[in-house]
């Protein structure tokens, strides 16, 4: 694998710009000039996408690890409730969870006497963090269970407590096993951030729509959407390559 796919996408963008050019009137500015004109605005929107993905990943990972450890708890009620929470959020559609958070979280809440307002993007981030949490929880459970049970027994023989075994022996190995799928999950989360445009967050997708309606030129549609796709591709493809490389490196042992 190499950057060939990116080259193909850039070529498609240029070809579509050329086709658009042929359809445009002589007085209109060129397609490429229009795209370049709007690039700073699009970059701002894209920065919000990335910020939301970072935040949702951080929140989701923190809660997900806790939930995953709950799934391997020795206490049956903790195990059962952690399992059902995980399954629920893993099986519900991202968009429905987004709607849920957007419409049912308050737009401001009170701390003492002051009101703290909760902007749309923050609520959307919570909505995105929920499925991430459930997926991380499954990753943790899977990774812990993939460690040979002999190691648990060896630790027991060495008089480690359960907590010590987890902290000193099991979890350090899990981190390594979890990294590639965790990166994969991050890429999935990043390509899910445009969903927030549906619930009214002004990110790259919403801005693209705004740009297109303010320009009002149909020949701009294909190049502009391809341009937006290219932004995401340029961000996610390297992550995918790194994931594959890491997986390969960890496999050879």
């Amino acid at each position: 694998m190499n950057g060939r796919q990116g080259v193909i996408l850039v070529a498609a963008l240029l070809v579509s710009a050329g086709i658009g050019e042929a359809k445009a009137g002589p007085a209109d500015p060129s397609i490429l000039a229009t795209i370049i004109k709007w690039t700073p605005l699009l970059a701002q929107g894209f920065a919000l996408n990335i910020a939301m993905s970072f935040l949702a990943m951080a929140i989701g990972t923190a809660f997900g690890v806790a939930l995953g450890l709950g799934q391997i708890s020795v206490l049956a009620p903790v195990r059962a409730s952690a399992w059902s929470v995980t399954q629920f959020f893993r099986n519900s559609p991202w968009l429905v969870l987004l709607f849920y958070c957007m419409l049912l979280l308050p737009f401001e809440f009170r701390i003492g006497d002051s009101f703290v307002s909760l902007p749309g993007w923050a609520k959307a981030t919570v909505g995105l963090a929920l499925p991430v949490m459930a997926n991380v929880s499954e990753l943790v459970r899977g990774a812990v269970q993939s460690i040979p049970s002999g190691q648990w027994e060896a630790c027991e023989a060495l008089a480690f407590t359960r907590l010590q075994t987890l902290r000193m022996v099991i979890l350090p190995q899990c981190v390594k096993r979890m990294t590639p799928p965790w990166m994969n999950l991050y890429a999935i989360l990043t390509v899910a951030t445009p969903l927030t445009s549906v619930v009214g967050v002004s990110e790259a997708m919403t801005l693209t729509g705004d740009i297109l309606s303010s320009e009002g030129r149909t020949e701009l549609l294909v190049p502009m959407y391809l341009y937006l796709l290219l932004w995401f591709f340029a961000y996610c493809y390297p992550i995918a390559l790194a994931t594959v490389a890491l997986e390969r490196r960890f496999q050879v042992r």
């Binding site: 694998m1 429905v96 549609l221 294909v222 959407y225």
Partner: protein, 249 residues
Amino acid sequence: MDLQPVWDWFRVLHATTGIKLTIFYDAFDRARFLNGFLTSIHLMALCLACSVAIGIVGAWVQGSQLKLLRAVTQAYIQFFRNTPPLVQLYFFYFALGSYLRITNAAGLEVPIVSNFVWAVICLSLYAGSFNIEIFRAGIEAVPKETVEAAEALGYSRLKAYAYVILPLAFRISLPALNNNLVNLVKTTTIAYAIAVPEMLYIANQIWSDELNVAEMMNVLLVIYVSLVGMLVYVMGRWERALRIPGYTP
């Protein structure tokens, strides 16, 4: 079967507790929600079938001798895997759809491909790109000796794929395929964005009319979680039914 008592019970529920489930006791809401539900099921079924077909064909093409064909498939896979499905849907529906228009008898410009069909095309291509990789991994896990044995018995490449490699690879791929199909079922909700009247879209209409956001959201979550649960159950049963006793690749 007369369900009127059931509907009446929900009306009483609203009167006594304020839980407003109009989709049960209001005949109009009931009819449109049922339509949305059926549209969702229709969308899911079509996308599931098409994406699996794309996966099977794509995995076969990936093993082709032609370098160009392999490169095109690889480009398709990487493009669909690494870009947002929602933007893909917009790209297909708004951008490509703007070119595919004809003028009808009344002199109006109408799209050739409806939004429902665009949703099926886009979601199938999206999930199909993952399915190709899943089947390819399954094919790679089929022992080389088995493939060589098929060759030695005079199977052509296509016949060996259809009768020997795919049946084994399919069994190996099932758990991963299962995961991806669950994902696909959940992703069908993005058809909402191009106004396909599926369940989320109808639910949105209903909660705008009846102001029962919380109830409808919970109904949606329960329905989706149970649909996914059903899919997981059926696929699990199928996985067990297909298992060859004693065979471990």
